[in-house]
């Protein structure tokens, strides 16, 4: 465990350093900088140059890199260029919202897809293909609908048509009721895809496990089907499922960008797109650092869950 943690910390540091460096230089390869993004349409070159100087954008790249790294080591992420607000504060207000969306999405997806996938697998195992095919097909079809399209469709139906949820309104953590109403449709949109993916994985994994010898052993001891499926099969199938849930979480952070845009949810997806559009390098760098950190952290968490489920996993 100690060795393992040590290894993970090393891995974390290496990945983060890599990400930081990559982002730093990749961003600067992109033409246009914060100054030109800020200056707007009708600005003279002289004014732009002044702005650039003000923002420290005309220093040599390596100097910029080192001063950035130095600040980073002191956990000083600085202020945004465009609005000059502290980045940490901005992320800290945006992050909980995105995390909330992602977590509820995953939770919903898990609650729906695992029973569904298990059922499909069980039916397939018993040779009753009809229900299995139905679930598999439905999963495939919803999985293939573009999120931005489903989002608008749901908005038209659930918000405009049925008046269930508002299409706009301030999203803050202080107002849980509004918050939940506003993130409801995004969550539905996102979970649709997640449910589809997870249900398919669950089906495959459970089906594979149902053919294992120990399932036969359990049956030979007179253990009822329900117990066989849920206690033995599902638990053993959990490993690939957990992996996919972990990865989905990472992908979700990406996937929220589109729904956050459509529904104007002030999460980190919105921050990221705004940051990129305004060439707000410090903001984008910090956000990506966060993404990377989350990615590695979730991987780590997945491993812990792995260990919890499967005692054979050794660190």
């Amino acid at each position: 465990m100690l060795v393992y943690s040590f290894k993970r910390v090393v891995q974390l540091i290496v990945t983060m350093l890599g990400v930081v460096t990559l982002v730093f230089f990749a961003l600067r390869l992109i033409p246009g900088d914060a100054a030109s993004a800020m200056a707007g349409e009708n600005v003279s070159a002289a004014a732009l140059e002044r702005l650039r100087e003000e923002m420290g954008l005309n220093q040599p790249l390596w100097l910029q890199y080192f001063s950035y790294m130095k600040n980073l080591l002191m956990l000083d992420f600085g202020n945004t260029v465009t609005t000059n607000l502290p980045i940490t504060g901005m992320i800290m207000t945006a992050l909980p919202i995105t995390m909330l969306i992602a977590s509820i999405t995953i939770l919903m997806a898990v609650c729906i897809s695992i029973p569904l996938g298990t059922l499909a697998a069980y039916m397939a195992h018993k040779g009753k293909k009809a229900l299995d095919n139905m679930i598999t097909w439905a999963a495939m079809i919803v999985d293939l609908m573009p999120a931005f399209w489903t989002a608008l469709l749901l908005l038209l139906i659930l918000s405009l048509g049925l008046g269930l949820f508002p299409a706009s309104g301030r999203v803050t953590l202080d107002n849980p009721e509004m918050l939940m109403k506003r993130i409801a449709i995004p969550i539905i949109v996102l979970s649709i895809t997640q449910v589809a993916t997870l249900a398919r994985i669950t089906r495959t994994a459970v089906l594979e496990v149902l053919n294992e010898d120990y399932v036969r052993t359990a049956r030979s001891l007179g253990i009822s089907e329900i117990v066989v499926v849920f206690r033995h099969a599902l638990r053993n199938a959990a490993l690939p499922i957990v992996t996919v849930i972990g990865l989905s979480f990472g992908n979700l952070l990406n996937g929220t960008v589109i729904v956050e845009f459509i529904f104007t949810i002030p999460g980190i997806g919105t921050l990221l797109v705004n940051g990129i559009n305004s060439r707000d390098y410090p903001l984008v760098q910090t956000l990506i650092l966060f993404y990377a950190f989350l990615f590695v952290a979730i991987n780590f968490l997945t491993d812990l869950v792995y260990k919890k489920i499967d005692p054979r996993v050794q660190f």
Binding site: N211, D213, Y214, T217, G222, I223, S224, H232, N236, P311
Partner: protein, 672 residues
């Protein structure tokens, strides 16, 4: 179906005309084709038969556990006169585990890897015996101790992966017996285990059934085990029972041609080395096809026209014996000797082989082709933390072997004692930690599992040619010619060159494995358990082939195996390994007839002899205890933890391999 041979009117289990099919997309596999038999209370019935003959399918059908796409088509299975076929699942669950216990082949995969033993054991006990959690746990612990799990109270909360294979199989047995089952169905319960452990398990099962009065149905390929263990035997072929009788009847005078051939394919562990082994030619019946007439007719040298028209019923042959053959005595009409010549597929190899295997000159002076000196291999695990010491496994711990041209050395020993590691070092696949290996000429290998040793995407022709291609020997034409020669040498037709490995039978695959090993004109061939992955009936073919090559080409062999009878049959010298070291070394005959090291003795005792008469007279001294781990070998003699002759001296002092009676060497304080 005639059932006259079934006498008792009130058996424990009554199976009548059972048919089980697998309805796959492409065809219907008729796995069980009308099986009828009875098992009496407390009786031990062994089921033997070729791989794929429907043994497992039949066993699973008995407890209605046949899984999709399998289906019991017709027939009846009665347990104490209750019909099981068509019984609702709920009622069946009340019977499974309680009345009928099951032990499966692979103990590694048959226990749920993510659940504690306690969870897996206690649930059925509570359910079937209606006990409270505490009582159930106590009962489970009791059973674990009865099957010989040391420290059962603690071990019950372990996970399966924390147990050795033998312990897991014991746990399976404890689970099967824990609800006082009246019948145990065991499907190859020991095949995956070491010889000594295997013997322990069989002994245990035998004792338990004797004390509890539980009946048992036991599926195995090992005729030795049958001889040691069973009271009755049923021989299956192509989904049917072709012969049935008491174990003594069957071994003494088998009546069905298949049984007769089967008994002839096994080398005898005792007595003289007989000549070539018999083997059954032809292919097993494809269960997808409907059988017209006798299912064995294609492989039977005595098949007559009647055999092609009518299926012979299982008929009484005196005593309890019954056989499904139109001939009263099968192949044995003209006395046993005749069988050899009657087997129509067993012609001697006459193909003149014109290959030029000139004797290599190098190192020939003393006639040694292989000299191994003080060979060590220690595996180290990487440790990420620099201050941590890496654990070390001493897989091979100082062995010396010399091999003469044309000589075969057999290396025996239990699983994990370092046999394969030695082989890998000989081939240069692993670097020795220390010590030296000198080979004059070329060394090649025949692997245990021929199938996994072939790239499934390559054609046979390319597989045999690979060594030549890699080394760039000869022109393309020459190589093609050589490949044809090689395949002829191992007794296959050139048309096989265009096939893929999956399109060959096990025996054919291993022949290809041998052909590939010969491609570079080796002087030494290492055969690492070349037959243990093969069905009994094809094992003989390969052994014969190796013997032929040895004679013909003057090859030297390093033959590694658990299977002592085979080793004895093929080897000139024997090295017995234990925990990375050689404990006994000498001429094969001498070692087998007069083993000196206690471990050799135990090993020989563990190997069952396929003769019920000998088995019933043998005083079997099995070693007890588990194998120590090579990562943590005991101080002193490695065998002391299991040795019946252990003294205090053995615990603290390590015996060295010393000469014994000029030709032999033994490492034991008790011997010298």
């Amino acid at each position: 179906m005639e059932t006259d041979y079934l006498l008792d009117s009130d058996p424990l289990l009554r199976v009548r005309d059972l048919h089980t099919h697998f309805e796959t997309e492409s065809a219907t596999v008729r796995a069980v084709n009308g099986v009828s038999f009875d098992i009496q209370r407390g009786e031990r019935l062994a089921i033997v038969g070729e791989s794929g003959s429907g043994k497992s399918a039949m066993a699973m059908s008995l407890i209605q556990l046949i899984a999709y796409p399998g289906r019991i088509v017709s027939g009846s299975v009665q347990l104490e006169n209750k019909e099981l076929v068509g019984m609702p699942e709920k009622e069946l669950n009340r019977l499974r585990g309680k009345e009928v216990g099951t032990v499966f082949q692979d103990p590694m995969s048959s226990l749920d890897p993510v659940m504690r033993i306690s969870d897996q054991m206690i649930t059925p006990i509570r359910m079937h015996l209606k006990l409270g959690p505490k009582e159930a746990r106590l009962l489970a612990i009791d059973w674990l101790s009865r099957v010989g799990i040391p420290d059962a109270e603690k071990r019950i909360d372990a996970y399966p992966f924390e147990m050795s294979g033998g312990m897991r199989q014991r746990i399976m047995i404890a689970m099967a017996l824990s609800c006082n089952a009246k019948l145990i169905v065991a499907d190859e319960p020991t095949t995956a285990l070491d010889v000594t452990i295997q013997a322990q398990i069989v002994q245990l099962l035998k004792e338990l059934t004797e004390t509890t009065g539980t009946a048992m149905m036991f599926i195995t390929h090992d005729l030795g085990l049958v001889a040691r263990f069973a009271q009755k035997v049923a021989v299956m072929y192509a989904g049917k029972i072709v012969e049935y009788g008491t174990v003594h009847e069957l071994f003494a005078h088998p009546k069905h041609p298949y049984t007769q051939s089967l008994l002839m394919t096994i080398p005898k562990i005792s007595g003289e080395k007989s000549g070539r082994l018999l083997h059954i030619g032809g292919f097993p019946h494809d269960m997808k096809n409907q059988i017209i007439g006798c299912s064995y007719k294609e492989r039977c040298s005595a098949a007559a026209s009647r055999c092609h028209m009518e299926a012979p019923p299982l008929q009484e042959r005196g005593g309890t014996q019954a056989s499904a053959c139109w001939l009263e005595h099968g192949l044995q009409t003209e006395g046993l000797d005749k069988i050899v010549s009657l087997d129509k597929h067993n012609k001697p190899q006459t193909a003149a082989v014109s290959m030029n295997y000139t004797k290599t000159a190098a190192g020939e002076a003393d006639g040694h082709v292989l000299v191994i000196k003080d060979l060590h291999k220690h595996f180290k695990r990487d440790s990420l933390l620099p201050w941590r010491k890496a654990p070390e496994i001493k897989a091979v711990n100082g062995i010396n072997i010399t091999l003469q041209r044309g000589e075969t050395i057999g290396i025996v020993g239990e699983s994990g004692c370092g046999k394969s590691t030695t082989a890998r070092m000989l081939l240069g696949l692993d670097e020795p930690t220390s010590g030296s290996i000198e080979v004059s000429g070329n060394i090649q290998i025949v692997f245990q599992d021929p199938y996994s040793s072939f790239n499934p995407k390559m054609k046979i022709g390319d597989i045999i040619a690979e060594p030549l291609n890699v080394q760039g020997i000869g022109t393309k034409e020459e190589r093609r010619f050589k490949v044809r020669e090689l395949i002829a040498k191992v007794g296959l037709e050139a048309s096989y060159l265009d096939r893929y490995p999956s399109q060959l039978s096990g025996g054919q695959r291993q022949r290809i494995g041998v052909a590939r090993a010969l491609a570079l004109n080796p002087s030494v061939v290492v055969a690492d358990e070349p037959t243990s992955a093969l069905d009994v009936s094809v094992r003989a073919q390969i052994i014969n082939l190796l013997c032929d090559l040895k004679e013909e080409m003057g090859l030297s062999f390093v033959f590694i195996s658990h299977d002592l009878s085979t080793v004895r049959y093929i080897s000139d010298k024997i090295a017995v390994m234990y925990l990375g070291e050689i404990v006994e070394y000498g001429p094969a005959e001498r070692v087998f007839t007069n083993p000196m090291h206690p471990y050799t003795k135990a090993l020989l005792a563990a190997v069952p002899v396929p003769d019920p008469v000998i088995e019933s007279q043998r005083d079997i001294q099995l070693v007890s205890g588990e194998l120590p781990s090579p990562a943590n070998p005991p101080l002193g003699c490695a065998f002391h933890s299991r040795c019946p002759l252990v003294t205090e001296h053995c615990v603290s002092h390590k015996p060295v391999l010393e000469d014994y009676q000029t030709t032999r060497q033994v490492a034991c304080h008790a011997v010298s």
